[in-house]
Symmetry: C2
Subunit: 248 residues, 2 copies
DNA sequence: GCACGTATTTGACGTAGATCAAGCAAGAAT
DNA sequence: ATTCTTGCTTGATCTACGTCAAATACGTGC
């Protein structure tokens, strides 16, 4: 995940990666101009909170580099991750005033933000953007529902395998790697954060990763660097009934 | 939940309840006219499938009466509910061709449908509708994320209490009941369907309902009719940290 | 090199909830 | 009336995962 200062996440983009990734692939030049005018960058240190649940949120935007998480916490400290934000992912809820979840930078994060009010005004005028937002929200809803199946019905081993395949897939689409042969990627989260993602404890996460390694489903170099010799095997372990259109 | 043939879900509505509940509270008369032209009703028998995951879906619409569920099923039969559709709830994914989940009528269901193509064309012309759709999708996303906390981190007892409070809340807002005093409602699902909602087995659901009854948190008349003498007590049991704006 | 803090692994043990297996209640069919 | 069916409850076990605790690995600064 060493995107560090990656200025560009796709071949075709200009200086701001989100222009088409997250917000608008089909905007007219004058619309892009408007977007540029209300755009600014912010950086957050690893471990810092970008927003607290309930805070007034005066921007929307997307992640340029680094990793952030959306989490919910109960009074007694139990926490569940409900969103994982990798580079190019969108943050914010047009039309909503407050943040619904804690947003935390788990690595150093660069965000590309738009002031919310003018962004919403732009939305009204440009159906492109409104349409794209709906599409993105539907994608997130689909992801949330897959996630619900994982949380509600999968075993610990299946959860880990699912997580690895999700990360591998996102990593591959992000980096346009050669899709043949072994998949190689770095885990973007600590064992504890993975546990919060999967509804497990960090010990169980660690044990299941060890088990998958022992069984030859994955190889590990260090703690974070993962090699998947056979992606189909991993998908089997995940209990997924489709290959998910890796190359779609 | 005996809405049976309820022609109207709010005080102000006309013959089609979804006009403002689900699609548009602020449409102009000519826009409503257009909606009327592409509108039709369908009924489904209890237990029948409205759509299978992967099927081409040529309509969007909303539930007029009855109860339907969205579910995902793994190859070995484990199933997880990912959506519960009560009267006034919207179904369908504008801009998507296929259904992503199985949609099943758990009681007799009446749906008010719009043909998808013309509905999407209407969306382009009427920002009201597009905006309302985004809002509804964001609501669903919020619900999904609450649900994820429930599935990932709550105990069986908390899951049941959460479910009861969700149903009580929805029922109250649907029926505009007196909010003071004991809450009274019917469970819209079998124990098995509740189990699929909560990521439990039906036996555990049954046991925990019995336990809540024994502890005086709820009373039962028959199997489905529930009385909640103290809603705050129920919310405590659910592990929720807010009252959720019952009367908001 | 050495002390210190954080991330991770591994082990021993306990428990919440699953599984397997009977019963029971109430409506529908004969 | 009596059998069936479907939904629900309850009991007896089993086990996957959580909990508690200790050891190891990997920096990072001195």
């Amino acid at each position: 995940m060493n995107q560090s200062s990656a200025p560009c996440l796709t071949q075709e983009c200009g200086d701001c990666p989100i222009r088409h990734r997250a917000v608008c692939a089909r905007c007219e030049p004058d619309e892009l101009q408007l977007l540029d005018e209300i755009k600014y960058y912010r950086t957050y240190e690893a471990g810092s909170h970008i927003i607290w649940a309930g805070d007034r949120m005066d921007f929307v935007g997307s992640v340029v580099s680094g990793i952030a998480t959306l989490t919910q916490t109960m009074e007694d400290g139990r926490t569940q991750m409900v969103g994982l934000l990798l580079p190019s992912d969108f943050v914010g809820r047009p039309g909503r005033d407050g943040a619904a979840y804690d947003v935390t930078a788990t690595t150093d994060v660069v965000m590309c933000c738009f002031r919310k009010k003018p962004f919403e005004q732009l939305m009204v005028r440009t159906p492109h953007v409104a349409h794209r937002l709906l599409e993105m929200t539907l994608d997130e809803l689909d992801a949330a529902r897959e996630w619900m199946l994982l949380l509600g019905r999968k075993t610990a081993r299946e959860k880990i395998a699912s997580f690895l395949s999700i990360i591998a897939r996102r990593d591959a689409s992000l980096n346009l790697r050669a899709a043949k042969g072994a998949l190689v990627f770095d885990l973007p989260l600590t064992r504890e954060a993975m546990a919060d993602y999967l509804g497990l404890t960090l010990e169980t996460v660690s044990r299941q990763i060890s088990a998958l390694r022992k069984d030859g489903v994955i190889e590990l170099e260090g703690k974070r660097h993962v090699i998947v010799p056979d992606f189909d095997r991993l998908l089997e372990e995940a209990g997924d009934d489709s290959d998910g259109g890796m190359l779609a």
